[in-house]
Amino acid sequence: MIEIDGLSKFYDNKAAVDAVSMTVETGTITVIVGTSGSGKTTLLRMINRLETADAGEVRIHGEATDSLAPHLLRRRIGYAIQGHGLFPHYTIARNIGAVPALLGWPEDQIRARVDELLSLFSMEPAQFRDRYPAELSGGQQQRVGVARALASRPDLLLMDEPFGALDPIIRARAQDDLRRIQRALGSTILLVTHDMEEAIRLGDRIAVMDGGRLVQHGSPTGIIRNPATGFVAEMVGGVERPLRLLSLLPVADIVEPGTAPGEAIAPTTNLRDALALCLWSGRDALPVQTDDGRAARVTLKAIRAQAQGPG
């Protein structure tokens, strides 16, 4: 568990980060979202002490981060940034193994970890290990950047707009990869973005920042359904709100007995995709796959009910 307790940072007597407190549960992704200049980067960099906090403290598993020398603290916290920051004169393997090497892991253990991470990111180790960053595509460089941040199994992974420089298709794939790998490794991640779509896609919890202050912290559905301020409502997007809400809910939540024409969809399909299928094929209901072979379906009416806002 990571506890952020009253963190503040002032530049020229103006608060860039204003008394932010929140708790990040182990094994979850928390996404900090806000417009440019809202203090996200400053908040993140105070956690690994790249910036010194003017007030407040951070505790990792109950231990205050200022009880350690900054460089030792940073070896325990993964850090991935926009534009990856890979060392151009290090091979991929040496880049990924940088922190384990600093921590004094034995050679063979580092090599095994590098190969494990490359495989996890769908990059053939034999093919990529000895290459240099300049020989990789932007998407591959970004994956190596994230792999480097994960290499020593850190208590916490900080990511500052890690996918900001990628084009939309590569970005969506990178987000899916991150989600999958985070689930597989059980990592605790704090990710910063200005893109609410990305926050909804990735976050177990979303923290919305505005003018240096934390204005709302909660589950994605909670934030979409009940935005705390006008600013949050604007961030979650007026007209797109119902669709964003649907994208977070699986068909399994509203499946009912009954038949429907066409090919059955998986119960894990999200309601936004189910809605799209209904509209595209002109159907009012879709059959849903079941374990026991009984007929089940999801209806357009039920989907609509889920998308309806309060009032």
Partner: protein
Amino acid sequence: MRTYLRPALAVLLLALVVWPERFSWLFAPFAPQGGPVIYSRTSLLSLSLNHLALVLIATLAATLVAVGMAILVTRPFGAAFRPLSRTVTNIGQTFPPVAVLALAVPALGFGEGPTLVALFLYGLLPIFENAIAGLSTVSPTVLDAARGIGLTRLQRLIRIELPLALPVILNGIRLSAIIALGTATIGSTVAAKTLGEVIIAGLLTNNTAFVLQGGLIVGLFAVLLYDLMVQLEQRISARLGL
């Protein structure tokens, strides 16, 4: 340089230095009537070795000092010294080498001493400027990542900044070494044992053969040294994955 040209020039240089008499036929037309054709007061080999040693020592010393200063003034605490150190190295460059030699003689006496001082002062500026350029153009994102993963100040300097700046620094060292190679010839005016001795002897006795001989050898050394260092730079850049 072409594959054949390099070894051919190297062999020519070696022959000129080790068996100068073999080239009498070449230089004879330029020697005065009945005068000596080949310089023989000191062996050309020992002059060459001494010349190269002066260049090597002066360039090494200039490298150490200039890179050291560049590291200092690119640190946050040393930034204030940047204009001052620039001025100092610039003065080293504006003084004509002959003036440096003349001023150093009273302090250091005749011989190698004043020459080394002049070569050293002359070598500082290109290395210093290049080292500053190299160190301050390392990508801020890379440096931020280096700090973010827990490298200490010294580790960042040694593992990240210096290797990434190395090609540019080597470029400066090459410039310095070539300048030193040429400047060292003037050292013979204050009795340093360099290849300049041959040229000056030629000028004093109106013997164009000596002047050509000395000039040719120094020129070949410069061309080959330049080429060697370019190759070294390329090899290092490739090793660094740049």
